[in-house]
Symmetry: C2
Subunit: 199 residues, 2 copies
């Protein structure tokens, strides 16, 4: 019989230290990027000893990996507001608010450059930053299709690209600032109506 409560002897590792280390790493990553993240600064901000960090992570890269994987990746699908426009507005609100809180808004472009050409890091980036947000939009697109607001012959993934892409693009060319993003609902209107004149 293996004991479920089995534990190694000695003092167990501190959960506070776990959290403080990852939190500090994420903050530094969002603030100044990978290059400026040093183990020394992580130690300073988290208030733990350097040995405590290296007992958990063998290198800076390993720490960053763990920090990304530690990102909260379950973003809830907002309540059904009854219309695509309402759902989309609520989602934009949610994502922007959440991103502002966790710093994901600046974390995304920063990480982006680090993961180019590194498949393993890119998979983490996709799994913990891209896909969770994409999943939410996919959900409201499927609702809209069920309501008949979106044509059934439009591929769901393409619809998501059209609704999300312009925002990410503007976010990038505006330097990660929220201003100049434009009104989500207004832009959605144009996406829905299309660019061609009424046939």
């Amino acid at each position: 019989m293996s004991d479920v409560e089995t534990r190694p002897p000695g003092r167990p590792r501190s959960a506070e230290a776990d959290e403080a280390i990852l939190q500090a790493a994420l903050e530094l990553l969002a603030e100044d990027g990978y290059r400026a993240l040093t183990m020394e600064r992580v130690r300073e901000r988290s208030g733990v000893g350097k040995a405590t960090i290296y007992r958990r992570y063998g290198s800076k890269e390993e720490l960053v990996r763990a920090a990304i994987a530690h990102l909260n990746s379950d973003i809830p699908l907002p309540d059904d507001t009854g219309s695509l426009q309402g759902d989309f507005a609520a989602t934009a609100q949610n994502v922007l608010a959440g991103a502002a809180r966790t710093g994901a808004l600046s974390l995304m472009p920063r990480l982006l450059s680090e993961v180019v050409g590194e498949p393993e890091m890119h998979a983490l980036f996709h799994e913990h930053l891209v896909e969770p947000r994409r999943r939410v939009v996919r959900g409201i697109v499927e609702r809209a299709k069920a309501r008949g607001e979106i044509r059934a012959d439009v591929d769901t993934e393409v619809a998501v690209d059209l609704m999300v892409g312009p925002f990410i693009y503007r976010l990038i060319i505006c330097g990660g600032h929220e201003e100049g993003l434009g009104d989500p609902v207004e832009l959605l209107g144009t996406v829905m109506a299309g660019l061609s004149p009424r046939a």
Copy 2:
């Protein structure tokens, strides 16, 4: 009377060295990012002496700035093919080919993370990478408006966002690789038609 041919005494600086330094810097930047760009590697790849580099640029940051500013920023507007679809296909071809040749495709996401939070660098990024490509699309949108292919009441800048955004977005989430970008013309079709059912 000032002499137009006036020149400082002594041996003039080598134009070959100028070019070799900037070219090496751009290559390293695109290949491995700012962090991995070292003056030592620039010296090695360009084949010049380190003093030759520092005679021109006082620091690594200054060199990178100059390299970005040196990027070819005049992308020609393609010939009028007579239709938005044709113009767009030609543009996509042009931009992708040019980006593949100069490495701008991987340069863009890499630089992106470096310019976040640094207004001066961001201005360079915008001026030499974003705006020249955006200008081309703006041109073909205006042609399409003149032809009546795009509604006159749609803001040109918004139209550009809708046409370019989804591609940049896909480029990002695919990790800077061209595969998985999808067919430009097919996506344009959906943008033109819109997502809503025919009224």
